[in-house]
Assembly symmetry: C2
Homo-oligomer: 431 residues x 2
């Protein structure tokens, strides 16, 4: 792992995979076909890309119970406990609207409404990601979304992983379709004969899924397009090199494009960590992936002072930040830009990936300067409400008309002025 | 204005102006040039498109005070009162983070941080839009954004409209640049010698501005890309036809693509409104624009029942909704999808455009199903915080490691397990 002095121009930005023209064309074809031909198109693409032609896209109650009973009981308990923790953390994000009373019985309001329906994409492939189910579904449930749909590409056996179905079952989710890729995004955005369209689509996926989400954006809402994962760690010489190395590798194993950065005030510690990373790499099942990430996007920076390290982190705005120093809480107070902060030796980043309760869907690629992790607000919307009585109108309509005319919008002025006193006060809507 | 019976497939969706290939190429060239050549590029494009070559891009204190003193004193008072109202409404949107205490002194937190800097684009051209300044700046100020920058294209005299500068002055905004078009978006996104980059860009603009915002998205945050304005009105036979017609026209005068829809339970009333619209149209300064909008995107629908009208509105999800019926408040309770709701005869929609206090930046094109008007949340971000003590770690690390291994992520499991009891408890970060 490279060791270098901290400078002003460090970055964790990597070129985002934006897809090539051919992939985009494919996605557009798929979406148009799904829009026009519905289930038939979705099933056809499933046969082609997932290697299985399904008669019935929806997971049956029998499949669900089979999956749950096939799971290791301890793991079911672990998932349940994680779900409880995630719900407890997100419950605090629930919001209420408000009313602002004005003079003369007029009032303004803000109303909070849950989205009516959301679709969650759960990636398939070789691994199962039950944690994605928990992290996407629970905030939507806390928000009060009535209809939550899961989609995920099946294996060649036409089934979804037991762990994914078990996580869904724990949360009471029953509308699950065995579809993936751009065709799943199309089905969620436009609807088909058997799948009703949703208002918002969340969840990670491959480049085809990401491109499809971008294409349907506007028609439906989407969550962020996530980039490869990142970890940044601030550690001083009292931290343990083997632990910091393990944490750097936990992100590196995600993706050859993942980024792992340590900023430390100790040159000796930097060298120890570099050595530990090399040692631990060789015994990792996903060594090849992690090694590429560390070689290309791994760095250890030596900072002169802790203040300098903090400044560098605020510039990087990493997805995950660990602080393993003396007075780690005080250091955390100085961090302005990070998706999630893990304080102290015992808050290793995977604690938040799976279990603590915070969300693991977090802003990447320095967007933590302005973006937030997935949260309950992502599943609600706000409507403003204006109620003016006759008295408030009478008092203010000349001002409103003047402001409208200042902008050259005469019809706006006339609309406000059109409310006449001479047409009687007891007309409809004057209450 | 067309009168027709309400059916299930009404829509207010219009084709969004997405720009042609040539416009996109122009925007990309401009952005690349600004990125590389900074101020020189911005000034060059200003000379080309705004017709004035500026030495100094920033508005001087002298220009500001000149503008303010040239304004009609009554209008300054009106703008000040509007600003107070807008601030009072948005103040209620301020949020606090929270802490969730766990067993064994562990805790989770959500931290709310204002964005560090935002740039607001104020459109130029023939008219001045001081209300855009108020509606974009005030939520950012309430959020606590430290640096708020205004950009707007100057007239051929090299000046900005006095009304825009006055609105800025009322709000205490002093960093204002006389730049517009894609080059202004480039300057805000990448920074130049004289303009520091911002974290988020908001505000409406022409197609070049919209395309440029889409291009820089990811590098910085942007607000929604707004479509043409819309109004939908539910009115019964007790409403006044001249008032409803005036309100329909107040949106129609914005844009030939604007949409104005009335849903009413009374055929007689429908006919009266259609006649009034025609009468009022002929005397409007912006008749040509309003007439196009009414002809192409104006409709009066006859509903059998009020319930049917409500259902139609929830399907349309209009930007603005007026309810002018008996028991209008009760009807409003049944509305799920609308950007803003105006209740009763005296809450004409321009009341909210200029003065009442709610925001006039609202979701268009049916996106009110899932999107909200501009609000304080658009200028903050949330960071999650995890603090686990040794005890909490010890209790939960086996569970976390099992969940990581279930997903095939061995390095995640090892990171959590790496925290050893045998290395001493008093190490750094263990507090």
């Amino acid at each position: 792992m490279k060791i270098q002095n901290l400078t002003n121009n460090i970055t964790l930005k990597r070129p985002l995979e934006s897809g090539n023209e051919e992939q985009l064309q494919t996605v557009r074809e798929v979406l148009a076909n799904v829009r026009q031909n519905g289930d038939a198109a979705v099933k056809g693409y499933g046969a082609k890309w997932d290697g299985v032609l399904l008669n019935e896209l929806r997971v049956s109650p029998e499949e669900m119970s089979e999956a749950v009973s096939s799971m290791d009981a301890q793991l079911v308990e672990d998932l349940k406990e994680a779900a409880l923790n995630i719900r407890a953390y997100h419950d605090k994000q629930k919001r209420q609207g408000y009313q602002l009373n004005l003079e003369n019985n007029s009032w303004l309001g803000q109303r909070i409404t849950a989205l009516a329906s959301v679709g969650l994409y759960v990636p398939g492939g070789s691994a199962a990601y039950p944690s994605s189910v928990l992290m996407n579904v629970i905030p939507a449930q806390v928000a009060g979304v009535e209809r939550i749909v899961l989609v995920s590409p099946p294996g060649k056996d036409g089934k979804l992983p037991a762990a994914v179905l078990t996580a869904a079952s724990i949360l009471g989710i029953t509308e699950i379709y065995k579809i993936g890729g751009a065709q799943a995004i199309g089905a969620l955005a436009y609807g088909t004969e058997s799948i009703q369209a949703v208002d918002k689509i969340t969840g990670p996926g491959n480049i085809f899924v990401a491109l499809a989400k971008r294409e349907v954006f506007g028609e439906v809402a989407i969550d962020m397009i996530a980039g490869p994962s990142e970890i940044a760690i601030i550690a001083d010489e009292n931290a343990y090199a083997d632990e910091i190395a393990a944490d750097l590798l936990s992100q590196a194993e995600h993706d050859p494009m993942a980024c792992a950065i340590l900023v430390t005030t100790s040159e000796r510690f930097a060298e120890e960590v570099a050595e530990e990373v090399e040692n631990q790499l060789t015994s990792l099942p996903r060594e090849a992936i992690a090694r590429k990430a560390i070689e290309n996007f791994g760095s250890i920076y030596i900072a002169e002072t802790l203040a300098e390290a903090v400044q560098a982190i605020n510039q990087l705005a990493p997805e995950h930040l660990e602080i393993v120093t003396d007075n780690a809480e005080a250091v955390a107070e100085q961090i302005r830009n990070a998706g999630a902060i893990f304080i102290g030796r015992y808050s290793s980043e995977p604690v938040g990936d799976y279990f603590a309760g915070t969300n693991h869907v977090l802003p990447t690629n320095s967007t933590a300067r302005f973006a937030s992790g997935l949260n309950v607000d992502d599943f609600i919307k706000k409507t403003s409400v204006v109620y003016y009585t006759k008295e408030t109108w009478a008092q203010n309509s000349p001002k409103i008309a003047r402001l409208a005319r200042l902008e050259g919008l005469e019809a706006h002025a006339r609309a406000v002025e059109s409310r006449g006193w001479d047409k009687g006060d007891e007309s409809s809507g004057s209450n």
